[in-house]
Symmetry: C2
Subunit: 301 residues, 2 copies
């Protein structure tokens, strides 16, 4: 990942160091567990930064979205295990996409996880190209993936055991009902996906996405995949149940659930105090999560 920013222009410094490929002595699942222990947090903040929703006064900056992200990260980095960048919001920036993503990633401490929420899924050589951008250029720790095109659409993202994928299983939106619950051999379709993903997990770098609006399904997914990291979006603005996400989403050790919140933290205030308000909101949620972990799981380690 390009971690260097030009001081004069405030942009990613392309002439600086070559892209580094760090050696991680552990697989993705182990990385999730390790970061969750060192940060004492299962909270993932979704940087779904909408340029139209950030405080007005930031619009004087060269890159308002980056400036917003930088201040949110600075205010919350000791409270989270991960940041998730929803690529939809960055691609909508047009010509600035690549710089803003790189700058935001450069502002995230190296020891935390970064998730590229890109929901890609394409065949062979196209999938290689998406993986090139997300896993090599941006160097996200993990990305989200559509399952529909099957195994070969996912292979390019699984090459490095230290980097992972979260395959969509049960999503938090109303349209999830259209296909995800269709009966296949007496079970909902999403269970077939989970079964397949488990067979793809030879390098221990596969995870699943399960919406927090569906506590029953979180429980079922955790039963079917006891040792996979689960990315759980939908708490907060979408109305998902935090307690159920922790209770049913964690593994037996009270870990491996990544509870994602976006809007309720990012836009806790629309004033000059937005970063402090985000910190207060994130602290409350991190603490709630940890209280539920204490309640439902025996002490770790």
């Amino acid at each position: 990942m390009l971690r260097t920013i030009c001081r004069e222009t405030g942009r990613a410094d392309l002439q600086s160091l070559p892209i580094t490929r760090k050696f991680y002595p552990m697989n993705f699942t182990q990385r999730v567990r390790t970061v969750q222990r060192s940060s004492n947090s299962l909270l993932c903040i979704g940087l779904d930064t909408d340029i139209n929703s950030i405080p007005r006064f930031l619009h004087t900056h060269v890159d308002p979205v980056f400036e917003f992200n930088r201040r949110i990260i600075e205010a919350t980095k000791d409270l989270v295990c991960a940041y998730k960048l929803n690529l939809a919001f960055y691609e909508a920036l047009g010509e600035n996409t690549w710089y803003t993503v790189h700058q935001t990633l450069a502002a995230i401490p190296e020891e935390l996880l970064t998730i590229g929420d890109a929901k890609r899924g394409d065949i062979g050589n196209s999938s290689e190209m998406y993986a090139k951008l997300l896993m090599h250029d941006y160097e996200f720790t993990a990305t989200t993936i559509h399952p529909y095109m099957g195994f070969d659409s996912i292979v390019p993202f699984l090459k490095n055991p230290a980097q992972g994928v979260f395959v969509l299983a049960v999503t938090s939106n109303p349209g999830a009902r259209d296909f995800q619950y269709l009966p296949v051999r007496g079970k909902p379709l999403y269970e077939q996906i989970i079964r397949k993903v488990r067979t793809w997990n030879a390098k221990k770098n596969c995870g699943l996405v399960v919406g927090a609006t569906r506590p029953k399904e979180i429980r079922r997914v955790r039963t079917l995949a006891p040792d996979l990291p689960l990315l759980i979006p939908g708490v907060g603005a979408q109305g998902g149940d935090l307690k159920a996400a922790v209770r049913y989403g964690c593994d037996a050790k009270g870990e491996l659930a990544l509870v994602n919140l976006s809007r309720s933290i990012l836009y806790a205030s629309h004033g000059e105090d937005f970063a402090a308000a985000a910190r207060a909101s994130a602290t409350a949620i991190r603490d709630d999560i940890n209280r539920y972990r204490t309640q439902f799981f025996s002490p770790r380690r």
Copy 2:
């Protein structure tokens, strides 16, 4: 769409005209039919332009991928109904993505269709953001979409009846077998998707993707969706059957199939004559397609 390029820098001219939103007096399905008639072609060229596969001598240009595309388009624009840009290849360009896509689109004659092969699929506000880029900024005539997240993931792309979506039904890759054929109430999953897409087609701007490597399924899809445009990739490098794609993919009038070829046209030659070789290859395929249309369908109109 930004159709103006700065002559000095060779880049999209942002200070030029505001983005225009043209009024098309027909829906997407009618547009496909109209363009296929006026061009007398069902051929779609996939601009899956890989910077590592284009002729070496183009690398002296400021934007080699654009220069390659420009020459391919110039050499083939009277032979096709559409160009399809595979976004995976453009996103891999990093900081140049947005400019190269805009420049390439600016080089395509206004009267032809442009397909943004992005295979997106996300919920509510994220999907709005992807639609903003693909349908408003790039202003593609159509984009490709993953079905798994259901109707609300697709709605933002269907707003303008003149712009459409091609929903993935049966894909050309080996991994298609993982999920697309799973039995749901005695039928393969992809049939459920087709049934749903038909209910989403109130504005006549929905189509389907069916891989040319699967002639039996093309026939079945056309039976289930007699009036939907079908995007059929996989002829050529992937080994799909051109004759079957035309015979089974066309509607009753011998239209509404968009037969996509990429590598076998783009890289027909790796020398200075690459554009002429692409023209020769595209001419042969266009003519083959039209011969099969004459063979299997009664004269149009």
